[in-house]
């Protein structure tokens, strides 16, 4: 049976290892260290761990001051809070001077589940993508999350990394090399292309399996850096296909689909782009899989939507 892991767990373990290797790494949390999995770092390096309490804006501003003094702070909260409660300090104190603060948004998307709309970040990619100097990373599995956790420390500016609490299969082997700004083609196919990010990468692969039975060959591209977008790979991957599809656990306004559309909009004769995701709505309480089904973000439902779109092509 395939091993399933939540990206937040992979992050917590990687952060602990990073802390061992880099004494300049400090970790801040806002009363969610168990959920965000920074508890491992906290237990190992209490002198470099700061739970500021329920005050996310204070957390990111404090981290900015630490970064200005030469440290590499990793700030942690739910994706909703770290992007929603802190927009102004993120913008002026971190993004504007490009300070190397790493913002980790945990429990993102619909799969946050039962807590409902207040806790389900569906706009975070959009918010963070529009900030100059901000990099937006959204890893697809445990291996990529571990690699990205380390890559963030080497990146000279601010990064937002979107993680989740939804168990996903391992997609990469241990030899995988993650690079900020680089997309990876996970499956070849010349009929359509599926661009996906985060939890939706495994769903896109499921959809590709289903489509194959119907003799539709789908290329699947993992967009683990949404900004800066790997425009060359996006363009090449759309060259020969009849339909382009983006799949994200996020509002279809401002997220991955928008980024793909922006990239392709200047190219003549581009095939149609089907943006799958949350259609400008708030989330609600429910189990993760129930919510993904409701918003048509399972392999089966993605495949059905592709069929429908192809019939219109």
């Amino acid at each position: 049976m395939t091993r399933l892991t939540e990206t937040r767990y992979a992050y917590g373990e990687a952060l602990l290892e990073l802390g061992r290797q880099l004494p300049k790494v400090v970790v801040l949390d806002a009363d969610l260290y168990n959920s965000t999995r920074t508890v491992l770092f906290r237990d190992a390096f209490p002198e470099r761990f700061f739970d500021v309490g329920i005050s996310e804006a204070d957390m990111v501003s404090t981290a900015a001051g630490m970064a200005a003094a030469g440290l590499i702070p990793y700030c942690n909260s739910f994706a909703m809070f770290i992007t929603g409660m802190c927009y102004m300090p993120l913008r002026i104190q971190i993004a504007y001077p490009s300070l190397p603060v790493k913002l980790i948004g945990s429990s993102s998307g619909l799969t946050q589940g039962p807590d409902g709309a207040s806790h389900q970040a569906l706009e975070d990619i959009s918010i963070m993508r529009s900030l100059p100097n901000m990099v937006v990373v959204s890893p697809a599995d445990e291996v990529e999350t571990r690699r990205a956790t380390f890559a963030l420390a080497d990146w000279p500016g601010p990064v937002y990394m979107r993680l989740g609490r939804y168990p996903v299969p391992r997609l990469f082997d241990e030899g995988y090399h993650f690079e900020i700004g680089k997309a990876t083609i996970l499956r070849e196919g010349g009929d359509i292309v599926l661009f996906a990010t985060g939890h939706m990468v495994c769903k896109a692969l499921d959809a590709a399996d289903i489509l194959e039975r119907d003799r539709i060959e789908a290329r699947v591209v993992n967009i683990s850096t949404i900004k800066p977008l790997d425009e060359a790979t996006v363009r090449e991957a759309t060259d020969d296909v009849a339909l382009i599809v983006s799949v994200e656990e996020h509002n279809i306004i401002g997220g991955l689909g928008s980024a793909i559309a922006e990239c392709l909009s200047a190219i003549a004769d581009t095939p149609p782009l089907l943006r799958l995701g949350v259609r400008d709505e708030f989330g609600e309480s429910g189990l993760a899989d129930e919510l993904l089904t409701k918003h048509r973000l399972t392999g089966q439902l993605i495949a059905e939507d592709v069929h429908r779109a192809l019939r219109r092509c």
Binding site: T62, A63, G65, M66
Partner: protein, 288 residues
């Protein structure tokens, strides 16, 4: 403690700063006269008396840090930095012009000597805490000075930061409240109750003192007092007059971000020149 001869020199620096602030802002342009003038004595005492600071090396890791959390008053800091030689005095009149390093609110990545980006009120004290905590982790013994406006204290994040500093016993953090009692539209007290201000900070775990923010000797004494607070952060509530030094600007909310006619500019510069002459004479008397 500050010596009498140092004090006279410091008064002169502050008076010169005021003249330069108004001169750089000029006429017929909206500028933050009020807050820049109310904070001038505090900034003078920090840069010309208190802080360990090497103008030739503004990135020296062990320097004391000064953050103007009420970023609209950064002109006072620009003037001090230019007088120290961190950048040329000739650059001052480029304030807020296209392409200038002297942005309307501090841009640390463009101008040496600025420790952070501020401008949206309420965020600076958290940032100061971050610099102080980093000093502890990195084994550097610098102090961090953060100037906030009393209007700025209406932002909730200030009090989050106050609790964080107290929790971590940040004896190297000194907050200075430029208490000019005015905000952009009217009196600070019109919208939120701040009093008893000193007691509130004490309740939040800070050592607090209250002074006349235009009495340079009192400012220096308070900064020295803050050094002795090693186990808790300290706050200096400096009672000031918004627009201090220019008769028709003093106490007028309209000059939070106001505009002077050419005639008003000349009058203001005349008043500030007179003040500068007075402190200069006083200094000469002391030297004689």
């Amino acid at each position: 403690m500050i010596r009498a001869d140092e004090l006279a020199g410091l008064r002169r620096k502050a008076a010169e700063m005021r003249w330069r602030i108004v001169n750089m802002m000029g006429s017929n342009k909206a500028n933050h006269f009020g807050g820049s003038l109310s904070v001038a004595d505090i900034v003078a005492a920090l840069y010309f008396y208190k802080m360990r600071y090497d103008p030739a090396n503004p990135c020296w890791p062990e320097r004391d840090r000064f953050l103007m959390s009420k970023g609209h008053s950064v002109p006072a800091q620009y003037v001090a930095l230019a007088m120290l030689g961190v950048f040329p005095l000739e650059e001052l009149p480029t304030l807020k012009r296209l392409g200038s390093r002297l942005q309307g609110h501090p841009a640390m990545h463009q101008m040496p000597g600025l420790e952070g980006c501020t401008g949206a009120l309420g965020e600076g004290l958290s940032y100061a805490n971050g610099m102080a905590l980093a000093g502890r982790i990195l084994g550097l013994s610098y102090d961090v000075y953060c100037v906030l406006g009393d209007g700025e204290l209406q932002e909730g994040q200030v009090w989050e930061a106050a609790m964080t500093a107290a929790k971590h016993c940040l004896g190297n953090v000194v907050a200075i409240i430029d208490r000019n009692r005015l905000k952009a539209m009217d009196e600070t007290a019109c919208s939120k109750l701040l009093d008893p201000l000193s007691a509130r900070w004490v309740d939040f775990g800070w050592a607090a003192t209250e002074i006349d923010g235009h009495d340079i000797a009192a400012i220096c004494d308070a900064l020295d007092w803050a050094d002795t607070q090693e186990q808790q952060p300290s706050v200096i509530i400096a009672n000031t007059v918004k627009g201090k030094g220019v008769s028709f600007i003093e106490g007028q909310p309209g000059y939070h971000n106001g505009r002077l006619s050419e005639e008003q500019l000349q009058q203001a510069l005349g008043e500030l020149e007179t003040a500068l002459t007075l402190v200069r004479d006083e200094q000469d008397d002391k030297i004689d």
